[in-house]
């Protein structure tokens, strides 16, 4: 009997640990926003993040006052920190959509307790990413020129340009992610409305929950919508990073002009995103005592996804070198040599290989996958590595292109750095606010994971007659013969 239990645990690891009922799940998660006194570490973390965000505001003020010349970006490296950081942030967002949409379609139950904050992470990462192109245009107050609208200048955007594709892809992505996240929130906001004691909070939650009352007819349409949104988000998320990669691959620059960029970028995005989800999940489950819902199983599975996508990324690095050699273009081959051992930035390349390819090989071993400490360390290393990857792709390709007379070195200025650090501040400020005011885990979806959520009835009778064993049809676990 004991062995059976262990085997069962191995085959279908519990997604909710501890002794929970609908009520305790609801109370535990909603109390974070409603009842508990705001903990000291929240104020501490929020204060730091908020201060760092001021660095962003100062940078933006200076940037708008003086112009984009305050950045180190200059010919031939006309695209540097702003796009590196843009791609880095957008990539991080992708894990949120992967968890909420693709894992839903694949019926992966473990997504349920991490999807809410992963989606919030997506939204905030996309918000950070969006700042870069807008402020890098130099005249951000004219950023609306990017959108097609009838105007007195009778000028339209050029739809054959990947940059306009990017505008469409990123703005659609931001909108659909927001809708998806908000739709997921409505039933939980209704829970908060019904449980809030404070009149003002109750009012605000009532407004945002649209009068949700959990009617069966509403749930029916709600589930259809949720499923279809997942189906729409899946190609969308793949299209977004593909479009981002078109920004590079449609150009003629050696090191960018490659057909395998879309899958390479998408894998890298998911890789970086899962690293960020782990960076957020590990402190969250401890500080807020959520380890019943974000279990060890979740962390191990995320570690596995990170390993898998990391291997795809490693494969892409090898493919990149192979194409550079096999393509027979002297410029491509020169770029590879320049990037890896002859050029001035060779060290960045090897740091990137260390972070993204070598370090995660430890995740093959159970010891490292099951250790929160190591997962956290590897996630940070991978985040740095993915940032370096964009740096290497962008800077080493541009700094020595076809004409030796236009070769130059690139180095960022303090404003490049302060803008990057500032967006980190903004990201964490938004996250702290999210954790304080919105349920960080989807309450209604966690309820469905509990055994008592299953309806016992006809299926049970059927199974009993067939097998003549005591068996309850269980929606969380597929029946195993």
């Amino acid at each position: 009997m004991q062995d059976d239990k262990e085997l069962q645990q191995k085959l279908h690891p519990a997604m909710v640990e501890g002794d929970h009922s609908f009520a305790t799940v609801t109370d535990k998660i909603s109390d974070l926003t409603l009842k508990k006194k705001t903990p000291f570490h929240w104020f501490f973390g929020f204060a730091i993040a908020f201060m760092v965000m001021q660095v962003l505001l100062i940078t933006i003020v200076w940037l708008v006052t003086k112009g984009v010349g305050v950045f180190g970006t200059n010919q031939p490296v006309g695209w540097a920190f702003p796009i590196i950081n843009f791609v880095w942030w957008i990539g991080i967002g992708h894990a949120g959509t992967l968890i909420s949409a693709i894992l839903l379609l694949l019926n992966q139950k473990w997504r349920t307790s991490i999807n809410r904050f992963a989606e919030a992470m997506t939204l905030f990462a996309v918000a950070c990413a969006g700042l870069y192109p807008v402020f890098h245009t130099g005249r951000p107050w004219l950023a609306y020129w990017l959108f097609p609208y009838p105007n007195t200048m009778s000028i339209w955007p050029q739809f054959r340009s990947p940059l306009i594709w990017d505008v469409f892809a990123v703005s659609t992505y931001a909108t659909v992610s927001l809708l998806f996240w908000y739709i997921g929130l409505i039933p939980d906001l209704a829970t908060l409305r019904d449980r809030a004691k404070n009149k003002y909070f109750k009012f605000v939650y009532a407004i945002f929950s649209w009068g949700w009352r959990g009617s069966a007819r509403h749930w029916h349409r709600y589930e259809l919508t949720y499923l279809i949104l997942a189906g729409l988000s899946t190609p969308l998320v793949l299209s977004v990073h593909s479009t981002v990669s078109f920004d590079f691959s449609v150009s003629q620059i050696p090191g960018w002009h490659a057909t395998f960029f879309p899958p390479y970028f998408v894998a890298g995005a998911i890789y970086a995103g899962f690293a960020m989800v782990l960076i957020l999940a590990i402190p969250l489950r401890h500080l807020y005592n959520m380890s019943d819902f974000i279990t060890k199983t979740h962390l191990i599975l995320m570690g596995k996804v990170m390993l898998a996508t990391g291997l795809i990324v490693g494969y892409s690095y090898i493919a990149e070198i192979f194409f550079g050699w096999y393509g027979g273009s002297q410029y491509e081959w020169f770029m590879i040599k320049n990037r890896i051992w002859e050029g001035p930035y060779w060290m960045f390349y090897w740091c990137l290989i260390f972070c993204n390819v070598l370090s995660i090989q430890f995740l093959w071993f159970k010891r490292f996958r099951e250790s929160e400490f190591w997962l956290f360390i590897f996630s940070i290393i991978v985040s740095i590595g993915m940032w370096l990857e964009r740096f290497v792709i962008i800077v080493t390709s541009l700094q020595r292109d076809f004409l030796p007379s236009s070769w130059a070195m690139y180095s960022p200025t303090i404003f490049d750095w302060s803008m990057f650090v500032g967006t980190l501040g903004m990201f964490f400020t938004l996250l702290f606010l999210f954790v304080r005011f919105v349920p960080v885990i989807s309450i209604f979806e966690v309820r469905t994971l509990l055994p008592e959520a299953n309806v016992h009835g006809h299926q049970q009778d059927f199974e009993e007659n067939v097998n003549e064993v005591e068996y309850t049809y269980d929606r969380t676990d597929p029946p195993n013969e």
Binding site: F22, F180, A216
Partner: protein, 177 residues
């Protein structure tokens, strides 16, 4: 004037009890019924006789509208209003127009999905008679409710109330209108 009730509501502890009760109400011939649960229950659709929503068709139509708008926009801009030849490509260079068309397809479909769902659900609905039952606040926490509305052709206060009490309910409430 006669004081009219919105309906009669029963409270249950488990989803199984709710589904069984809904099934019995349907067998009894009640049609103006609804169930409330803190999470989606697939079995309730069949038990209450909820028909599949037309929402997926609306979303499909929304997606097609987005696709056509994307094509129309790019065609109008680059072929009709302001044809500029870039890199020797034809004015109508469809492959390059696919990304905006695709994104608009997704965008329109997602908007229809979300706002269509809210519209068909009759939301936002800040007031609804069921909120008059104080215990109903637990519908978003742990309890399950079944209601038979007074608009039901078979509704008769004494009769329906007796039926509701015969179910395996925790408690039966009159719902004020």
């Amino acid at each position: 004037m006669e004081h009219k009730l919105h309906g009669i509501m029963a409270e249950f502890d488990t989803p199984t009890q709710l589904v069984d009760a809904a099934r019995r109400a349907r067998d009894e011939g009640y049609v103006k019924t609804d169930a409330f649960s803190p999470f989606p229950l697939h079995e309730i659709d069949e038990a209450l006789g909820i028909k599949r929503s037309i929402l997926p068709y609306l979303i499909f139509a929304g997606g097609i509208t987005g696709l056509v708008s994307g094509l129309g926009l790019t065609y109008f801009v680059h072929v009709i209003d302001w044809p500029i030849i870039v890199g020797g490509r034809p004015a109508f260079s469809l492959p390059a127009f696919i990304p905006p068309m695709f994104e608009l397809t997704i965008l329109f479909a997602a908007f229809v999905a979300v706002f269509g769902m809210l519209f068909l659900n009759g939301l936002p609905a800040p007031y609804h008679p069921v909120f008059n039952v104080p215990r109903f606040a637990l519908a978003t926490r742990e309890k399950f409710f079944l209601i038979i509305e007074s608009a039901d052709p078979k509704y008769d206060y004494a009769e329906t109330r007796r039926f509701m009490e015969s179910l395996d309910a925790q408690e039966v409430f009159d719902v004020e209108d």
